[in-house]
């Protein structure tokens, strides 16, 4: 009888912090008290632990049991504390040798029969475990692939509380579990659900300039707003964007996987997420769902789309609040969710692809169909998108009505298929990485690839000189564009030059960028 302690992990947003779970068993009226800012789910853990322990064959002692969670000022939530709580109590009760708990970390929810179930944020927990020097991390076997990503040497998958206790009592069984885990992972990857292939751009006839804009967006992660009458192919185009996006780098993959793990979306994925996320929330999404939030903030769609695409169809139909809340992530590449308990920073470096009709009825500016909107209606629709929001969109693209004959024939030249586009995008991405590498070698400050660059950094690396610079000035002066427009133009020109694998930004790149970016944002589709 005495005390025992084990490491657990509390999920804060998408990061985990180590939490020490201590249990003390002493004579007294039987009962379990949990202290240290537990939420309802953690408080209820004592009932689950009691049943699970009994069913595993190690009933809790009929004594006074106190469980402390420290640091006591971090809010602990969710069922991930079940397993550490059980092991700490069993350690204090003498069922598990306390020495075996010394460098142990664990996460997992307990079922009443003693089975260990998967929880959110195992990857973040595993990262925190590696950081804090844990030597063995027990995780639910359902989440073993996540834990293996961050800590392949320490992660051990367990199915039940009984297994966990046996392993801690006998090191040989731990080895058995380890080997079983490896077999399990191998099996899993063999039977892994192949992700359905993204549809191909080859299905889209015409729309050459839209395809070009999407190609640019795929290379530079630019934001794009498509506008056109209903049925023109906006959604069709957007859905095909993932088919040409370059795969995630290792570092990006880890970032994305951490987010998905924290959001509990990893079940269908084998280890790391390697495909770029494509999120398309419905336009009725609430601000919290889009940006992230809740009393203990959880990542929203912008964060789930990190390093990928956020597709917002019927853009102006989103609530005004939700639209305006997009401003910060569009600009900065992250969101700061501030609640009473503290502020959390979620990464949100996504490429926004938005689509909308020119007016509520959708036929304003249509060559044959008459628009049935009253001027006031159209005006209201337009005003839904504020200037500051539109100002942050890199490319504004009008999709004009395609002549029917170009659709019926369905002829798509080889340049317009996903394979050809992807090839160009990959070449441009590789060139871009090389160029940034070179800039770093020459001593320019380089933020991590793909991050939002400061205007100064952008300017320094853009290699816009001479005539191209003069042309850029003329464009900016003509439109009386602001500083943001200027730096957006620089960045867009840079991407276009990358697509051509040109080290210097030339006049043609600037001109094309200006054609896509510089539009009178208050009236351009009216």
């Amino acid at each position: 009888m005495g005390t025992a302690a084990v490491a657990a992990f509390a999920l804060l947003g998408i990061e985990a912090v180590p939490v020490r779970v201590e249990a003390h068993v002493r004579p007294g009226l039987p009962g379990v008290t949990v202290v240290g800012l537990p939420d309802a789910a953690v408080r209820e853990a004592k009932e689950r632990v009691r049943s699970a322990a009994a069913n595993a064959g190690y009933p809790l002692p009929t004594q006074r049991i106190t469980v402390g969670l420290s640091p006591a000022d971090v809010r602990k939530e969710g069922p991930a504390f079940d397993l550490p709580l059980a092991l700490a109590v069993l350690g204090a009760a003498g069922h598990v040798p306390p020495a075996s708990l010394r460098h142990l970390g664990c996460v997992g929810e307990l079922g009443l029969r003693g089975d260990v179930r998967g929880v959110r944020g195992v990857l973040a927990a595993a990262e925190a475990a590696v950081r804090s020097g844990v030597r063995c991390l027990l995780v639910p076997i359902a989440c073993l692939h996540e834990a293996t990503v961050a800590g392949p040497d320490i992660a051990v998958g367990v199915r039940s509380l009984a297994e966990a206790v046996t392993a801690l009592r006998d090191g040989r069984f731990l080895e058995v579990l380890r080997r079983r885990g490896q077999r399990w992972l191998a099996l899993r990857s063999r039977y892994r659900r192949s992700t359905p292939a993204s549809p191909d751009f080859g299905d889209v006839a015409g729309h050459a300039s839209a395809k070009r804009a999407l190609e640019i967006a795929a290379v530079g992660g630019h934001h794009l707003l498509m506008i056109g009458p209903p049925g023109i192919g906006k959604t069709m185009l957007a859905r095909r964007l993932p088919s040409i996006m370059p795969p995630l780098s290792c570092k990006e993959a880890l970032e994305v996987t951490r987010i998905w793990s924290a959001a509990g979306l990893l079940s269908g994925v084998d280890g790391l997420v390697t495909e770029r996320p494509f999120r398309s929330p419905h336009h009725t999404a609430s601000t919290a769902a889009l940006i992230g939030g809740g009393p203990s903030p959880r990542p929203g769609e912008v964060t789930l789309a990190h390093r990928g695409v956020l597709f917002l169809d019927e853009f102006p139909e989103l609530s005004r609040d939700a639209l305006e809340a997009l401003r910060e992530p569009l600009e900065d590449g992250w969101v700061l969710i501030t609640r009473r308990a503290g502020a959390l920073r979620f990464p949100a470096r996504f490429s926004l692809i938005a689509a909308m009709n020119p007016c509520p009825c959708g036929y304003s500016g249509h060559p044959t169909v008459r628009c049935s909107c009253s001027p006031a209606q159209a005006d209201r629709y337009r005003r839904q998108l504020s200037g500051p929001l539109l100002d942050r969109v890199d490319m504004l693209l009008e999709l004009p009505v395609q002549p029917v004959d170009s659709l019926v024939g369905g002829r798509v030249d080889a340049d317009g298929t996903s394979a050809a586009m992807r090839e160009r995008v990959m070449a441009a991405t590789a060139f871009r990485a090389e160029r940034i590498d070179y800039a770093a070698r020459r001593g320019f400050a380089v933020s991590r690839a793909g991050d939002v660059q400061s205007p100064r950094e952008l300017e320094a690396q853009a290699e816009i000189r001479g005539a191209a610079r003069a042309l850029l000035h003329r464009f900016v002066m003509k439109e009386a564009a602001g500083g943001r427009s200027h730096s957006r133009l620089v960045s867009l020109s840079r991407t276009i030059a990358d697509l051509e694998q040109s080290f210097a930004v030339e006049e043609r790149h600037v001109a094309e960028a200006a054609g896509l970016h510089l539009k009178d944002r208050t009236t351009w589709w009216a």
Partner: protein, 397 residues
């Protein structure tokens, strides 16, 4: 005291063509004296330069002058002034101050000034010789405006100075506070050539607030005046120099002008000479913009965009610049940006009489969408193509 008529005749004779050299020296001396007389307030005799030469005026008696229409009192005063004129002292002073004197009729004397009803007898110039020559050959614009400029006026003037300088247009202004100073500093900031036309001697930094600007211009540009070095500021000399500003520019741009104002006098002089006038409109409840807005209402060309202003200047002042070696560089740069590329010509042809989207143009001309997008963007910048409706382009009406 040196009598000018008998004057320096024997003073120096060059080895070759001594007579011609003597002649030019005498002419220079006569113009110098006339300049001093003008600075003293006898500006009315400048009109006579259209009827007789400076040497004639120099040698004229009171009766001769009266015959030319000069009032008796003025004629007597002029003759008396000439009698006490100390040519050597003046020439010494010129030499020591590094100010050059360009008499009317000299090869470097701007022809535009000779068009004035009262052409200056000569120009006193501080600044490098190259600056003056390149100034004579360059397109020039006069930027004028009120001394009590608002923030808006100063901003626009500076911006205008900058873009004109970038386009290789020399910015002419008067070094006054407010708009003038901003226009000068904008041009200097862009590394362009700028000319300050003063109402004082070219060695008198006035107003003192623009002292630094004055020296900057003297170093990198040209400071010019019709008054000899040492001439102190006097109220009447400033309106008089406005005619020089108007004549030196190929167009007059008014940034902010109240009513009445010196800037409007410059505009009147400019109109007299047939110079195009461009005005920057302002808020209608701003006193500082009243003159501008009134000019706009009277039909002056309105500046609605700084960059466009250069192009409008280019178009409007063509006749002013014709026959001279004066090309606005922005026009030239235009052509280098786009040597009227084949694609652009094709695009213009395709858009003739109809509105098409980028994709449709590309299909019509058989070029890559990328190239067509570039061409249309550049054409739009030049105002040769207009955005119309949803993603369609057409030729402007």
């Amino acid at each position: 005291m040196v009598g000018l008529t008998a004057g320096n005749e024997g003073a120096s004779g060059g080895p070759c063509r001594p007579a011609a050299r003597r002649e030019s020296l005498r002419s220079q001396a006569a113009h110098l004296w006339l300049s001093h007389a003008v600075a003293e307030g006898y500006a009315s005799c400048l009109r006579l330069l259209h009827r007789c030469s400076a040497e004639d005026l120099c040698g004229a008696s009171v009766e001769d002058l009266q015959a030319l229409g000069v009032r008796a009192r003025t004629a007597r005063a002029l003759v008396a002034h000439r009698a006490v004129f100390d040519l050597e002292a003046v020439e010494d002073r010129l030499r020591s101050s590094g100010v050059r004197f360009i008499p009317c009729g000299h090869a470097s004397y701007p022809l535009e000034l000779a068009q004035l009803t009262s052409p200056p007898a000569g120009l006193f110039v501080s600044g490098s010789e190259e600056a003056w020559t390149s100034l004579m050959r360059s397109p020039r614009v006069t930027i004028v405006g009120t001394r009590s400029a608002t923030g808006y006026g100063r901003r626009v003037a500076e911006e205008l100075g900058r873009v004109f300088a970038q386009a290789g247009v020399v910015v002419v202004s008067g070094l006054a506070r407010g708009v003038d100073a901003s226009a000068h500093s904008g041009a200097l900031a862009a590394g362009g050539l700028t000319v300050a036309v003063l109402g004082t001697g070219t060695d008198v930094p006035y107003p003192s607030a623009n002292r630094r600007l004055f020296f900057d211009i003297a170093e990198k540009g040209v400071v010019v005046s019709e008054y000899p070095p040492g001439t102190a500021p006097a109220k009447w000399r400033f309106p008089a120099r406005n005619r020089l500003m108007a004549a030196l520019g190929d167009a007059v741009v008014v940034v902010e002008a109240g009513v009445p104002s010196g800037a409007l006098l410059t505009v009147d002089e400019g109109l007299e000479l047939g110079r195009p006038v461009l005005v920057v409109p302002g808020p209608i409840d701003s006193g500082a913009s009243l003159g501008c807005n009134r000019l706009a209402a009277d039909g002056a060309h309105i500046v609605y965009n700084v960059a466009q202003c250069v192009e409008d200047y280019d178009a409007l002042s063509r006749t002013e610049r014709c026959g001279r070696e004066r090309e606005v560089r922005c026009a030239r740069r235009h052509r280098t940006v786009d040597p009227e590329s084949a694609v652009e010509r094709l695009v213009l042809q395709a858009l003739n009489g109809r509105a098409l989207s980028v994709d449709q143009v590309a299909a019509a001309v058989g070029c890559a969408v990328r190239e067509v997008a570039v061409a249309i963007s550049l054409l739009e910048l030049k105002g040769l193509v207009q955005r119309r409706g949803l993603g369609e382009f057409s030729l402007p009406p």
